[in-house]
Amino acid sequence: MTLGSDTRYLFIRYLTKLVRNPILLFFSLFQPILFLALFTQLLTRLGSFPGILPDHVSYLEFAAAGILLQNAFGSALQSGNSIVADIDSGFLQKMLVTPVSRSAILLGRLTSDAFRVVIQSAIILGLAYAFGAIENTPFSVTTGVLGILGIFFTLAFFGLAWSGISLALGMKTRSAETVFAIGGVITFPLLFLSSALFPISFLPTWVKDVSMFNPVSYAVDASRAFMITGYDWGTILPAWGVIGLVALITLSATLYQFRKVVS
């Protein structure tokens, strides 16, 4: 089966490129880490008002899920840029004149994106633990190691869905700048009009209404369930369903654009 091995070698190629360009990693981690430091400093008193955060939950614990999600956003956004780079340099064409599996070109890309989200999430989670220790605010994941895996899965899955958008945009526009601009424009509204950084009860009614239709809210709520409330499948499974639906749409768009590029 060439799909499997082709995907593996392309997966390795993308990760090698990433590791050898640490500046890319730095930039995509910079913002989430800044948010982690800033928001937890600014809003840590939030926990002392009764009824805003769940009992015995620090703002650090609350915000971690949102910041992890923001990170998944950021790194998935770079995915489109890298396919634009491959098209511009002619490397995609170089692959296409070989018998390499066409699907592997996309699959290698997507799996490496997902893997990257997991690695970056682990770094951020580690930092959150460190912050907790330094600031003497409680930070823990209720569901333990298995729950952390659940969080990683949710984030990677969300990252995949989001990669689909940037890949499709990248292949459509062939412009890294456009991908970046469009990505930037939709990231923040989606993030702030969701339950990512502020408790839903804290938000104005219209934002609450919007956030109901915002897939980000679902993904954050699922991660937050693993982190705070436990295996709340009533939250987790619908979230996975919503992410799956988004992924279906964005990856179909990606596949459609890819077919146009390939043929």
């Binding site: 064409q93 296409l96 070989t98 018998p99």
Partner: protein, 331 residues
Amino acid sequence: MSDIISVKDLVLVYADGTKAVDNISFNVAEGEFFGFLGPNGAGKSTTIKVLTTLLRKTSGEVNVAGYNLEKDAAAIRKVIGVQSQDTTVDGDLTGRENLELQGHFYQMKTSEIKARVKELLRLVELESVAEKRARNYSGGMKKRLDLASALIHKPKMLFLDEPTTGLDPQSRSTIWAYLQRLNKEEGITIFLTTQYLEEADKLCKRLSIIDYGKIAASGTPGELKSQVGADSIRVGLENCDRDRSRAKEIIRSMTGVSEIIDSEECINVFAKNASQLIADIVRALDSSDIRLTTVTFAQPTLDDVFMKHTGRRIRVEELVKAPSMMFGGRR
């Protein structure tokens, strides 16, 4: 010899209506070194893209390596090697990693790849920098690495789209030497496109001159040039003003001379059998006490051929600036 490429009535019209390839037909025999010579935008790259399965042709019949392009694109990909006009190496990977990855694209076994990579690194003389990232290679080194990667799977047939465009003269002649070796020693059929006259002349056993998507002429460089007709002999005289008309008279009476014109040196003689005429000219002028300063012999160039068929010189202003020695980074 059987044909490894046969193209009949190939047409490619881009989505915007541009007819890049306009009804061309040609054949390339197995083991041949064949070339397309033409200016930028003549349709060379487009033809290569069609033949290497990258672009879908509008119409026509194409067979490569015994496979039909439409039905067996996948089979064709396995036996051809392609070097595109843009040098495409992954700058983040080392030279060795670039080649290994390419080997994996062809589903080669890891042990097989190892041996082949070693061989190719030696061929293109990149052994000493094999572990360095390709980003840091010079232009010539990148081209060589790219060429090596096109050879990883020992292709039967190599497509090279302007393999030396933009290179300094040293790197060009190095690449030329590799290509001649590959063709002669390993019997790889090579289809090359170029806008350099000397490159086509030196490398190609047979070539087609292509312009505006059409083949203007085909043949061996020698055949094409002899179609233009005459070689030229440039004769310089010590006292040109005084002797010119007398010299012209003497030379005109010789057999084979087709035309005599005044030139910078003094006179320019066009003749079919110029190489044999030189001695006669020298002798005749000498015995008439006309003193010669120079006699140079020039064969028609492919540019003359291009001129004859298209009415224009190869659009020189569009040629990539002739790589000058001054910029040829010696390492």
